[in-house]
Amino acid sequence: MENSRRSFLKVAGITALGIGTKPVLDVFASSGGHGEEPKPEVYSNEKALTAEKWGMVIDTTKFHSAEDLAPIIEACHKIHNVPDLPDSKHEIMWLWEDEYKHVFTHREHELINDRIKHLPFLVLCNHCEKPACVRACPTKATFKRDDGIVLMDFHRCIGCRFCMAACPYGSRSFNFRDPRPFIKEENKEFPTRMKGVVEKCNFCAERLAVGKMPACVEASNGAITVGDLDDPESEVRELLRTNYTIRRKPDLGAGPSVYYIV
């Protein structure tokens, strides 16, 4: 009796172990280059906007007050079904504004000129070259595409918030509650999120894929430009060549792809 119970438990244990480790083994197996199974092919839209390495230049000299930024932020949040939550602690922000001393914490000084001191700056995910959030994520729910855009898989995210602790720019938000009741007008072309997952700016990857410019670019009257940082002929490279630009916390080495003309 004792014996058979033991052997049963042993078999059950080994079986459970097998079920648990199979996917892990599959991962190692699939990286081994068996390549016999036909891989699904993904056709890209002919009109899709592509780049070797996406980047953004924000010309802050074209902004004067928070009112100039409001429509840009609204365009972004509306298109991406970002909820407007009553409790500021639970706020979801993809694109928002803050003061120079908070945005450029390493460059702040007391005697800076009045324009910069009081000018609101746009803040968003920096789509870093070496994103700390991607390094921290235990499930690859957040990942960097070959073209430099850092994305979120809302369906894989377990909500551990390691990425939020890792991001040195405070660019990530967590759904502390069901966001859907707080979306004023739902955009059916973009998914809403559920409670318990992290989200952030996605560089409008869904719009670039169909040939549209990011929503903030369209709403900015030419103050925001996106383009290929690897292409010397691109508009962003032209702006970087002809203007003095700064990035947020460059000393951390994350390599942010968002540049500010000040």
Partner: protein, 393 residues
């Protein structure tokens, strides 16, 4: 052996039922959290980890602290600890179980937890934390159970257990090191970004864990017929003494580096914790209490007369445990998030539901500890008289 946990007097069952009641309340509130989301906690966009992760961090230390009775016994052949190694191992089981429960309680989508195994990501420290914690749990269950069963049958434990014991001794510092690496490798968090974090975690673990063991030994002596032993308790007290001194020394090293260099992104967190920042200082009284508790415990431990007096020692262990708990369970995690990377101050305090869920997890751990200690102590009582000749005990 588990059947030993089913026989007990009224006091035992009253205790078990009380714990089950606390677990029940915690679980009910957890169901509410599952339904509403983590918004029922005090956490926010700025302070995105709170009480759960802090308790997890502290308890990893308690679990690792158990090795302080296992190591002297098996690596230095310090025979006196043979009587209580099982208590260290069983404490580790209860503590790691609580750690895992706190992680689950903290997940936004707990039903997706297995994604960590389905999409293994060795670049993430959390992946390794999962491996070391589960591994340590597994090791302690196997070792504890086999050694205790052998003791009950008055035989030497099986040969294959010894390599596992050695592994577990190396594994214990690893669990707390990996846990520290969760924090200290993050580029934008000046408070945690220090190489002393893992050593500090270990020092506080080796103080808090054995201090708790001393208290448990004293309780066991009082409520059962098994005496863990005077020498054992005194040896533990010496370990606690060294560990708490090293812990405070490491903290002061950190304070020197931060305040002499005066780099704001590192300094502002300690300022927030100990003096308040921009008018926010909810943790200030807590942190100073923690410092006072740790300093007092050092004095009482260093003086031989107070260390050797078991009543004073019990008091010392209580304040030391509370002091290290405040330091890690309250200051360490939210201190790292305040101010946030944009230098805004959003304060954090746990909410009532959050505290109830936390108590539920603690009650679960204490229930596991009660059952395991009951089994261990009953076995010790059963075999008392023959234990002295048994090498494995």
């Amino acid at each position: 052996m588990l059947e030993l946990a089913l026989k007990g007097d009224k006091k035992y069952w009253g205790w078990v039922i009380a714990l089950l009641a606390v677990i029940g309340v915690g679980f009910a509130v957890y169901l509410k959290q599952l339904d509403f989301g983590l918004g029922i906690t005090g956490m926010s966009r700025d302070v995105s980890w709170g009480f759960y992760i802090a308790q997890f961090t502290f308890l990893v230390g308690v679990a690792a602290g158990g090795v302080m009775v296992v190591l002297p016994k098996y690596l230095h052949d310090y025979k006196a600890f043979g009587r209580i190694t099982i208590l260290g191992e069983f404490l580790a089981i209860a503590a790691v179980t609580m750690c895992l429960l706190f992680i689950i309680a903290d997940l936004g989508q707990p039903m997706r937890a297995f994604n960590v195994i389905l999409y293994p990501t060795p670049g993430s420290v959390l992946f390794w934390d999962m491996i070391v914690l589960n591994g340590y749990l597994f090791l302690n269950i196997v070792i504890g159970w086999n050694v205790l069963e052998a003791e009950r049958n008055n035989i030497h434990y099986a040969k294959w257990v010894k390599p596992l014991i050695i592994t577990s001794i190396v594994w214990a510092p690893a669990i707390h090191t990996v846990t520290a690496f969760l924090y200290c490798g993050l580029p934008g968090r000046g408070f945690w970004m220090t190489a002393i974090l893992a050593p500090r975690f270990l020092a506080s673990a080796f103080a808090a864990g054995p201090a708790l063991l001393i208290l448990l030994c004293l309780i066991i002596r009082k409520v059962t017929k098994f005496d863990p032993g005077k020498e054992q308790i005194q040896s533990l007290a010496k370990i606690v003494t060294y560990a708490i001194i090293i812990n405070v020394f490491f903290l002061l090293c950190e304070v020197f580096v931060v305040f002499y260099s005066r780099i704001p992104s590192h300094m502002s967190h300690l300022q927030y914790l100990f003096a308040g920042l921009h008018g926010h200082g909810a943790l200030v009284p807590w942190m100073w209490t923690s410092m006072a508790f740790m300093a007092t415990s050092i004095v009482l431990l260093v003086i031989p007369a107070t260390r050797k007096h078991e009543g004073v020692l019990a008091f010392t262990c209580v304040i030391l445990f509370l002091g290290t708990w405040i330091d890690k369970g309250m200051g360490m995690i939210s201190g790292g998030f305040v101010p946030n990377p944009l230098h805004h101050v959003t304060e954090y305090m746990p909410t009532l539901p959050e505290i109830l869920i936390t108590l539920g997890v603690y009650a679960t751990g204490i229930l596991i500890l009660t059952i395991l200690f009951k089994v261990a102590v009953n076995v010790k009582e059963e075999v008392s008289g023959v234990t002295d000749s048994c090498e494995s005990c």
